[in-house]
Symmetry: D2
Subunit: 296 residues, 4 copies
């Protein structure tokens, strides 16, 4: 296995988040999203549009990202919106469209759930539930997800510390579900040139502190498609476990977040670069032979 070593101060026994803390010498415990392993040998790419907008759009998206090497389909059926007057998603109907599109192209799917009471209805249709950044502190939702069989993609809140992020994972784990993947998606800092501030080092810190796989969403973090392929290469080379990106067949027609979505051409070029780099991944030690000793 070629997962980066962990040199972090080991959190034992009295850790703040005992269930998700990485113990001395412990490797990352992979999590399966419908058969796609995240946190294992490979680097997982989750791709798709911000929102499901209709059967044709999600089918095209699924087909095109699958053809270019995506491992998992993303797409929002229930959208958490800042304004009550924005597009709120197509709901269960949208989820059904997405399920069909995912199946047609052999992809598992992950989608956001907003409320505890929808968990049961959505579970048969999803391979993994996403907790969005705005819900990271929604403990009722976290606890409901602790009771499902489905794995969870837990996004970091944009105003939440790294420790709070791991404690949110601990909320889910303590309620019975330890199949959690952490996803850094940018935090709020003072700059306005990028949409949020991608906290790459924070993702590495989480990787050291927890046995959970850690991936990065550069689309929301950065908001500018031209910067995303380079950030994606960085995420892979840093030894993180995967990537979540927004891809839209026609970004200019997207009902939400179109400005930050990758076109298919740019996604394709990005995937080629990731493949080029991935060939070297088994050779990288991420500083393994350091004084703290490597992994077992």
């Amino acid at each position: 296995m070629n997962h980066p070593p962990t040199h972090a101060k080991v959190l034992e026994g009295d850790a703040a988040f005992p269930r998700v803390a990485r113990r001395a010498g412990q490797r990352t415990i992979p999590v399966s999203f419908g058969g796609v392993l995240i946190g294992g040998r490979g680097f997982a790419v989750i791709a798709g549009p911000c929102s499901v907008e209709g059967p044709e759009q999600i089918h095209t998206a699924a087909s095109e990202v699958a053809r270019r090497g995506a491992d998992v389909l993303r797409g929002g059926a229930f959208k958490p919106r800042t304004s009550p007057y924005s597009f709120q998603g197509l709901g269960l109907e949208g989820l059904a469209m997405m399920r069909e599109a995912a199946d047609a192209h052999g992809l598992p799917l992950v989608t956001e759930v907003l409320t505890p009471e929808r968990v049961e209805a959505m579970a048969p249709q999803v391979d993994a539930f996403q907790v969005g950044a705005r819900n990271m502190h929604n403990t009722a939702l976290l606890h409901a997800l602790g009771a499902t069989e489905r794995p969870i993609l837990l996004k970091r809140g944009f105003g939440s510390t790294l420790t709070e992020w791991l404690l949110a994972a601990e909320h889910i784990a303590s309620a019975g579900n330890e199949r959690i993947v952490l996803c850094e998606r940018g935090i709020r800092a003072f700059g306005t040139e990028t949409r949020f501030t991608l906290d790459l080092a924070g993702a590495l810190w989480a990787q050291d502190q927890s046995h959970l796989p850690v991936i990065v969403d550069p689309s929301h973090a950065i908001g500018q498609p031209s910067l995303i392929p380079r950030a994606a290469a960085a995420v892979l080379a840093a030894g993180l476990d995967g990537l979540m990106v927004e891809v839209h067949p026609s970004p200019e027609e997207a009902l939400s977040d179109g400005a930050q979505a990758l076109t298919l051409d740019r996604f394709e070029a990005m995937m080629r670069d990731l493949k080029t780099l991935d060939a070297r991944r088994p050779l990288i030690a991420w500083g393994e032979r350091s004084e703290e000793g490597g992994r077992g």
Copy 2:
């Protein structure tokens, strides 16, 4: 040449920072630090201790980082200190020690200058001047550096926007010196788990907006040696132009910033990883074939 493509909105004519702005199709203009090209085909590694502490320490440091592949020696002779009661550096005497150590091991050197009036006295001894994060807004210093022949390593202020960073470079350039390398070193955000917040996407934004080379200092940004090799791999894979890291033969004895310095073993492992990745660099297109067209 294999520099990442630039898809940024081109800043022409009326740009806020016309001298340092990248024009349509323009490649990064490399800058030479004593013969080491930054911003060209290769990936430059600047390494050394936080402070020059004595002849033996800086000689050992220079020897050991050179042997492990560093391109440029760093080290502080004049230290900008938050407290008036901290170690302020060995001054010109320390610079002379560093010059000797650098020459003995065939490395150019870069060191920080704190005041305009010292520029002239230091210039014969340095291959490049560093402007520290605390001085990024010190326009008198920027203007004095605009009048030297030496290249400048301009660190971003930890509370400064990306645009202000490029405007600080423009201050130097408008005073006559366009040989500037930008260095992202972490910004202030709300977290405390890492020392600062490494703004990798901000460095990519600067790379798009300017023809100046852009490097990253993960040591100050992160403050935890265990995370630095992974961050370094990310910087290389993202297509940035180089790295500046603190390395100390005996971090526990360092007079300043020992806790964040890499040991020689960790530095060696990091350099091995960078070499492994660098072999792939010519094959990476960083999303080149995107809709905006590639580089010339």
Copy 3:
């Protein structure tokens, strides 16, 4: 009436938050918490412990804050906790204790609700519902509160912009309930000397943009009891509509947030100061005779 004038750019028709936006010349629309008017002539003080810990503690707290001039009792029965292993509150039983204590001392009460499904069960017992900072983006909860008859105290998320705060209020209003009081409680910035950063100017901005009353919680924002009485005086003099503070009869024994609670002595001294200042409130014009013209 002596409410500060509003010089803000008027948001009409196409405002992002039309229901809560202040229209040209419009005064703040007061909201009643069990008979105590917030946003009217007076300055409302909401006080009490962080959590309800038992019948004796909440009775003592209610009695003591009432005797010193508090207008509304606060106290948490359902606690949103960062860690799953912290004290989660006494729940409905705690609420019943609090109701009894409030009634015994003639105070209305406000308490936090964490989930939509508890709204109905809690409604008969509360005079106002609080939405905590961690739930400001929980739209399911906001919509459920839009359907109650009870007024809402809406805290600003610590990572949320002022505009997002008003949009959260708009979510409640658009679901049918416009009796909302806004509460600034500190945001995340880079400092660590105070617990959060009290955004007083942000509260003033919200006051200009919305007809909703705006109060401030300096206890969570600052975290240091010695600074709170001065911050409280500032809030009153700035023309804001009230204050929410944590007061505990024995802070050192508190089950949560004891370190930031005011002792009864300090609360008493603070109330004396507020009374002293309040006598001048009718004489303050808050810059009324400005070029934009005064209030109606």
Copy 4:
């Protein structure tokens, strides 16, 4: 004397900033700006335009602010500019105009100094030197100001912690000059609705930790004239020592920062409010009778 009490943990002997730290029971040590005492019984108002633009402008400004009760004249002759292409100020000539205008209207003046070598030339013309936010970490400048007889107005850097601010004061004090007034002027946080984030609680923290007077500049912090009079009232009521505001006879014609300057009418209304509140200042105890005991 009616200065707010200090309940802060006393910093003795081994304090990080021993010269500026407040000792147990110690009162604020007032500083005189050309005869106007800051940090004593009264509340000082420093007002004037951002920049000196010409003899007529600065004479009018001085006359008009003096007539409305300002205590000290502010105005920039040397401007620290983010862009090298912005108006840089009228320099020594502008300072001479300002000196004349101040004398003509019986006001002392404070103005910014940007470089150590100008301190000597400016000293005879100024009643106090200002260190701007961008120079708070410029230790060469701080040390040069430690050698003058003139008092210093030390603005907090917008990316600097409170502790760093007091350490910057300690730099000046350790170089021989303890006549320092601290000025909070807003920090960088994630919001964009106000220009910076006014850290009122941070100013209170500094007041507790140091015997130096502490004032607030709401003009730069907030950037919106309509909010400034209310913020000014807050600063007075919080027990801080004074205020610095930008006032311009014709804001729309200002060469710099016009958008944030108060008109004369708004300034006049603000001054009336401050007078109204100030009458109550001797009656306010700022929570004095707290458990830690009051001031001597």
